[in-house]
Symmetry: C3
Subunit: 143 residues, 3 copies
């Protein structure tokens, strides 16, 4: 942690290795725990997926909706053998597009030491090409 004249900057990395190719994992508690560890009282926490076939989003913690989200990203950015990217030997062109669709990062406001989320807002890690180790950066900046 870097502290200078009251300003705090704190960094942590979370690792994920999913069982499925596509999975949606709630990480709100891990981000609040990081907030507690950092001592941040007021500022921002950036949550950003460091692998380019995964994303981060904030939405409802409801299993039906998670299925709807999964169906929706597959409809708009489907698995397809014909992606140009597959000429490199990769098979995950769809996962790169799904990351763009979902977005790969969020900035969480922190007020009085707590994640300042709406009543139904939950933070999710979205894996689109899993079954291997991947990283998410958490960075806190503020007072």
């Amino acid at each position: 942690m870097a502290v200078q004249d009251g300003l705090k900057a704190h960094t942590k990395y979370l690792w994920f290795e999913t069982n499925q190719r596509r999975e949606y994992i709630r990480i709100t508690d891990e981000v609040q725990q990081f907030c507690d560890e950092s001592g941040l009282k007021d500022g921002f926490i950036l949550v950003s997926a460091m692998h380019i076939t995964a994303g981060i989003y904030v939405n409802d913690w409801e299993n039906g909706l998670i299925k709807d989200i999964d169906n929706w990203v597959e409809r708009l950015a489907p698995e397809d053998p014909s992606y140009h990217h597959h000429n490199t030997g990769e098979d995950n062109g769809d996962a790169h597009l799904k990351r763009i669709l979902i977005n790969h990062q969020v900035t969480i406001p922190v007020t009085k030491g707590k994640l300042d989320l709406g009543p139904w807002e939950q933070i999710f890690y979205a894996e689109f090409d899993g079954q291997r180790r991947k990283r998410v950066i958490l960075k806190a900046l503020g007072i």
Copy 2:
């Protein structure tokens, strides 16, 4: 407002209650007013929708384009009775997906006390399941 050694952190909540299910409301002036109130000269203002069926975007203030955006989000994330989420009794599965498509937050740069936006950039609140009270957080961080 928290001030520590020159660093400012300031927070405000805007409330919205739209007449229509879907509406797009320009909030650039409200965000600039918040910037003035906070005294922020250089830094970031996060603008983030706290309800999971609403979003924030930055684009043109032109009524034809707003209609195009509305048609487009409905085409890519349509109203549909068959969403799994509706098994909970909700009817707004499309609105959750539209929020993901539009994105739910933006970070506005502030330079010399002004929102540092391009000549045509305007900040919009996008409501996808309105007719009830909803909240947006504004948080300023910087000097």
Copy 3:
């Protein structure tokens, strides 16, 4: 550059004028150079397209994938003479929607003076209505 009690805020503008209507330009090196110029050691760099028909994204530096991304944005937000926005005399309704789809900004974490990106993460400027001068803001905030 504004410096107050150790906190740094630094701003720079990049200009682009593409040869094609749609182009995808890697800007990771320009953002790292800005990071070096700013002296930022720990914090955030916001990279945000100031024109409303351009975007910023972070993904793979691989030409096949860039073609896939271009095909994908055209499939989901196609060129089409019938956009309402075209009643103003404009012909770029698709470009406004493509900016929303790709997103117009990213926040890059900086740790120990370096962009804290994953091994394959590269920052791209996405032009959807080019052949004229356009601007991107870079703003660093932190220690």
